[in-house]
């Protein structure tokens, strides 16, 4: 599911279009920082994530992993420093991404929506795609898929149950 976006990111990196990259990840970085901090300090942390991402881009740093993985790792790293009481305004330390030398990106790289919804019937996945990727209303989804509203609600309920199980499993 991420492949197309990863390819776009690779092109943006190749062309040095840092503005497009920062814009592409702006909302997800802000959302993650707000969710983690549970307060307005999340905006400050997010700002420092962007500054750090840009510092690395301007230094010409390259990555073996897709750029989205790098973004999420920088968010993780910056939040970790924030909660440890450290300054998140400083540039990232050399080797910042080496928390797991075996494969620092494995967890994030494997965690796309297909993985999240694994085990759900195809019909449910169609509902989830329309709801959480395309943003359709419940009635629109029912109409589009020829289902009753109740069937759409049940598919969403199964997805939430699945998601909660994933969270509970760590």
């Amino acid at each position: 599911m991420h492949d197309a976006r990863d390819a776009e990111d690779a092109l943006l990196l190749e062309h040095g279009d840092h503005g497009a990259l920062i814009a592409a990840y702006h909302d997800v970085v802000v959302q993650r920082c707000l969710v983690a901090t549970r307060g307005d300090s999340g905006y400050d942390v997010a700002q420092n994530v962007f500054v750090r991402l840009l510092q690395e881009l301007e230094r010409g740093k390259t990555y073996a992993a897709p750029y989205r993985v790098v973004v999420h790792k920088v968010v993780d790293w910056t939040l970790k420093e924030h909660f440890a009481g450290g300054s998140t305004e400083l540039p990232l330390a050399e080797g910042w991404d080496a928390a797991d030398p075996a494969d620092p990106y494995a967890e994030i790289d494997a965690g796309d929506l297909d993985t999240l919804w694994a085990g759900l019937p195809d019909g449910d996945r169609d509902v989830l795609d329309l709801r959480y990727v395309r943003g359709l209303e419940i009635e629109q989804i029912a109409g589009r898929l020829g289902k009753k509203r109740n069937a759409v609600d049940q598919a969403l309920h199964r997805a939430h149950t699945r998601l909660r199980a994933v969270i509970a499993g760590g």
């Binding site: 814009a23 993650r32 929506l113």
Partner: protein, 187 residues
């Protein structure tokens, strides 16, 4: 809790910028679980295609132009124009113009935290600058030490003095209670 997650995730998919703090607050005892669900989903979700105006904003931010100044320049407004609009909207006495202007300049330059703006003011600025509240609140000037030595300024309106675009400070700037309540809302 499932309904809150559903509303939030669907709003994200529609390209809105839902305030996750609002959803987490509404979750009550389920706040921790909702926050974990949200974070897991944010990691898994493919990024959206950015709005071209957002790309322009990011490019300006990289060049060292204050985001709020860019948004203002896009509407061909000067700082004085915005100040006049604020005075008019909130029925402030003309004698308070200089105070409003100082606050606004500090907001634009990153010396005031946009997350502390009162709801009426941030909502008004969003309407006046034809943007969204989350855009105003979430974009801050790039710190000067990280910005290029020679920054490109796309328009004259955006070239107005950028004071100290370092990290946001929360120092009180003036002592007019009415103006202060607009720009620095009580937490």
């Amino acid at each position: 809790m499932a309904q809150l997650f559903d509303e939030w995730a669907a709003a994200l998919a529609r390209g809105e910028q839902p305030d996750p703090l609002d959803f987490i607050r509404r979750a009550g005892a389920g706040a921790d679980e909702l926050a974990r669900l949200m974070d897991r989903f944010l990691r898994a979700r493919p990024r959206a295609e950015p709005d071209p105006e957002l790309v322009d904003l990011a490019r300006g931010w990289i060049a060292g132009t204050a985001p709020l100044a860019q948004l203002r320049a896009r509407q061909r407004l000067r700082q004085d124009d915005v100040v006049d609009l604020v005075l008019d909207e909130f029925d402030l006495a003309p004698a308070k113009r200089a105070t409003v202007k100082r606050h606004y300049q500090r907001l634009e330059s990153g010396q005031l935290d946009p997350a502390r703006l009162s709801r009426p003011l941030v909502g008004f600025l969003a309407r006046a600058l034809k943007t969204s509240v989350p855009t105003i609140v979430s974009w801050r000037p790039r710190p000067l030490e990280a910005a290029p030595a020679y920054r490109a300024v796309p328009t004259a309106a955006a070239a107005e003095p950028l004071l100290h675009a370092a990290s946001v400070t929360r120092e009180p700037v003036d002592d007019d209670d009415e103006v202060r309540a607009l720009f620095i809302a009580t937490l």
